[in-house]
Every structure is written in structure tokens, then in C-alpha cells.
Symmetry: C2
Subunit: 223 residues, 2 copies
DNA sequence: GACACCTCTGGAACGCTGTTCCAGCGAGTC
DNA sequence: GACTCGCTGGAACAGCGTTCCAGAGGTGTC
């Protein structure tokens, strides 16, 4: 028994939404999307699965909160004294870099439509679209196109990091795919073969920005 | 036993990969993404879950095959005697319409990187990019941007149909979101409020095509 | 001090999933 | 008739998100 001598074995910090969310982010970062389970999370927090549900309604909300925690700060910067184009680029890169640092965020954003934080991105992209003097009737189209492109890249980024074995690095992965492309049937896949080299050597970030610029050029030309 | 008179109670058709995939497509179309389980599929095929695994390696392959079955025919058309822009539009619309008719395909395509059938889309988009006389060094970028945009729309389309309750129709759903947008804080969400009306009245297909055209314009301007 | 509250805990259990296992059926072959 | 082998389908397994609930621990009231 020795009930007298038992130490105050109660957990140092009490459970809280913040502690749960930040533990979830750590788990997602280290073990990946599939690694976030309520049991693993409970173990990390030295509690049981049931306790977590007191602070969080379910996995959906938990993932949304984790994404918010990571993306929120990344898009918080001010876009004063910058051209609209530069502001949009900076915003898009903020999202991109957050996804790059936390691949699971890409899947999460692509899965959850325009709730926060992507609604905030939409708002700020839209304002810059207005600053570009895009006709009112075309503003929704312009901002939507940018959002869809960003979310498309987000999703693909997530897919790629999910596909790659945890052991291999990015260069090796690109090399494998590029080699596979180069060995496709020349009749059926002439173009894909042609650009296999560009796939091998491209930089994701630069390429992402080039796509943004393509759309921005399109928007400017239509003004 | 009356073994003599027993009808050929053996299932009419034997199990086969095609039967399984087409049953999966039916299930996905009627019950949605979450409705495709091996048990439901087995019941529909009047067999057990184990039998399915003889013809299909697992759920991943099954989903890929289902997407291929739906998207494959949609992008099979020939693009002879059409301008490159028209060919790209037609191709993109083929993918869009397939997704529109089978919402789960959007999620599937967005989830599986550029395997078939999206690699075939990439190839054919790329050829038209070459036909547009885009400099070699920019071809990968141009084709990738189009692909990422298409996949972004695909993913968002899937999200929206997943969010909406099976009861309500699209108009009602758009109305709800647009109303919510119109009631946002004017200080923080000025732009979003401004375009709430455009959200309510927009047509997905037209909007999708407008985005494609924006990128095409950007590509042409950079030539 | 005793009692009743009420927030919060965490382990057990539920129903569901994808997947594996394997006894056995039925047609074709020696 | 026996043997083989492609194929079947029901049972079982491990894991998931989620729910349930007995009870611990702190706080306020008499």
C-alpha cells in the first residue's frame, strides 16, 4: 500500500487544448499523417484517449487546429509597401513554406476547403487582386484561380512526401521518377520524356512561384 | 439431396477484376467515398471480403482502378484540328466533367499524384504546350501549372460535395456559404464580402474554364 | 470538518475498418 | 476415381475513432 509515501504523481501540467494541439503537431511532424492516432497522442500526453475528447471534439477539429497552428503564423505577415504582385507572391510562399516544413499540412489544407486559415489567404489575395485593378466581375475568378493553384500544389506536395519511403531523400526520389519518365514509350509519352530532365533538376519552390507568376501575368493581361 | 434438380445456384457470373471495379464505381457513385468498404462491396457481389483480394491487391489499387475506369474514357478523345488552347480546354473539361459526375474521383486524383490517368493528361497538355511554341525550358513549368490547377479544383470539388449534406442541393449550399461570407466582419473580410454575390451566382464549370484561360493567357504572354 | 458539487481524467469497451488466413468447393487432368 | 489448383467466402486479427463511465481532485457551502 504505502499510500502515505506516494509522491504527487499527478501529471506536471494539466491537459489543455493547446498542449494537445502542439503534441499533435509534433506527432504529425515526426511520424507523419498516419501517425496521429488518439492512442499515440494519449500516450505522448501520459493520459487516456477519453481525456482528450474533453478538450477537443474529434480528429477533424484536431487536424484543423493543428493546421491553423502551423499556417496561421506563416501568413500573418504584413504586406504594406509592396506591389500587389509581390504581396501575393509573399503570401503564397508563406503557405508553401509552411507546407514544405510540415508536409501533412498540404493534405489537410487540400482536404478542408476555405475555412480558416485558407479563407484568410483568400481574403488577402483578393485584396491584392483588387489593388491590381481587376474588373469587379473578374475578381472572384482571379482570386479563385490563385487559390485553386495553391491548393493543388499543396495536395501534390503532400502526395509526394507520402509516396516517398521515409529512408530516401528528395533528390533520390526525383531521380527515380525522372528515370521512369525517360524510359516511357516514345510514341505515347514524347513530351513527358522530353521534360524528364527538367523534372529531375527543378526546384519545387521556384517552380511553385513560376506558376503563381503565370497566373499573375494572365490576370494582368486581362485587365 | 436432389442434387440433380438443383439450379446452377452458383453466382451467375464469376468474380473478376472488371466486375469488382464496376461494382466499386457504382458503390462510390451511390453511397460516396466513405461508402466503399470491402464488406459492402462483398455483399453487393454476393461473396465475402476475402474473395475480392484474389483479384485486387487492396483498397488503394481498387480506388486507382475505379478512377481509371471513370477518367480514362473522359480523356480519350482526339484533339486533331483544334488550336492548342482549344485542345487543352477540351482535355481539362473532360477531367472536370468526369469529376463533376463522380465527385469521389476528384479526391482520388488529388490523392494519387501523376499516375495514370493524370500522367496521360500531363502528356497531352504538354504536347499542346509545345504546340504553343513555349520555350523548351518553360514547358515543364507551364504544363505543371495547368496540372496543379486542375488537381486543385479537383480536390476542392471533392471537399465541397463531401461537406454538403446529402439532402441539400448545390444551389442551397452555395447560398448558405455566400450568406455566411456576406456576414463576415467588414474590417477583416472586406474582399470576401464583396465577392459573396459572385460566389452565389457563379457556375463551377465556367469558373474552372476561366482559370484555365487565365493560365493559358499567362503562358501566351510569356512566349 | 463534512458534505455536495463539478470539472476533468483515463481505462475499458463498442462498432467499424482493411487485411490475412485457411478450410473447402468445383472443374479440369492424369 | 484421385489429384491438382484456381478460386471462394466466412472467420479472425489488429487497429482505428469514438463513447461511456466510475471516480479522482479541487472548490464552495453549511
Amino acid at each position: 500500500m504505502a499510500a502515505r509515501t506516494r509522491r504527487p504523481e499527478r501529471r506536471q501540467e494539466p491537459l489543455s487544448r493547446e498542449r494537445i494541439v502542439s503534441a499533435a503537431v509534433e506527432l504529425l511532424d515526426t511520424v507523419g499523417e498516419g501517425g496521429l492516432t488518439f492512442r499515440a497522442l494519449a500516450e505522448r500526453l501520459a493520459t487516456g484517449p477519453g481525456a482528450i475528447y474533453w478538450h477537443v471534439t474529434g480528429k477533424t477539429e484536431l487536424l484543423a487546429a493543428a493546421a491553423e497552428a502551423v499556417v496561421g503564423p506563416a501568413i500573418a505577415g504584413a504586406d504594406t509597401d509592396a506591389t500587389p504582385q509581390e504581396a501575393i507572391r509573399a503570401l503564397a510562399l508563406g503557405v508553401f513554406d509552411a507546407i514544405d516544413a510540415h508536409p501533412w499540412v498540404g493534405a489537410q489544407l487540400a482536404r478542408t476547403s476555405w475555412q480558416s486559415p485558407m479563407l484568410r489567404v483568400f481574403e488577402r489575395v483578393g485584396r491584392q487582386v483588387q489593388a491590381l485593378r481587376v474588373p469587379e466581375a473578374a475578381q472572384f475568378t482571379a482570386a479563385s484561380a490563385l487559390m485553386n493553384y495553391i491548393l493543388g500544389v499543396a495536395g501534390q506536395n503532400a502526395v509526394n512526401t507520402r509516396t516517398v519511403q521515409p529512408g530516401t531523400d528528395r533528390t533520390e526520389f526525383l531521380d527515380t521518377v525522372a528515370t521512369a519518365w525517360a524510359e516511357l514509350d516514345p510514341g505515347q509519352y514524347a513530351f513527358t520524356r522530353d521534360v524528364a530532365g527538367q523534372l529531375r533538376e527543378h526546384d519545387d519552390r521556384t517552380e511553385f512561384l513560376a506558376g503563381i507568376d503565370l497566373i499573375l501575368t494572365g490576370i494582368a493581361a486581362r485587365r
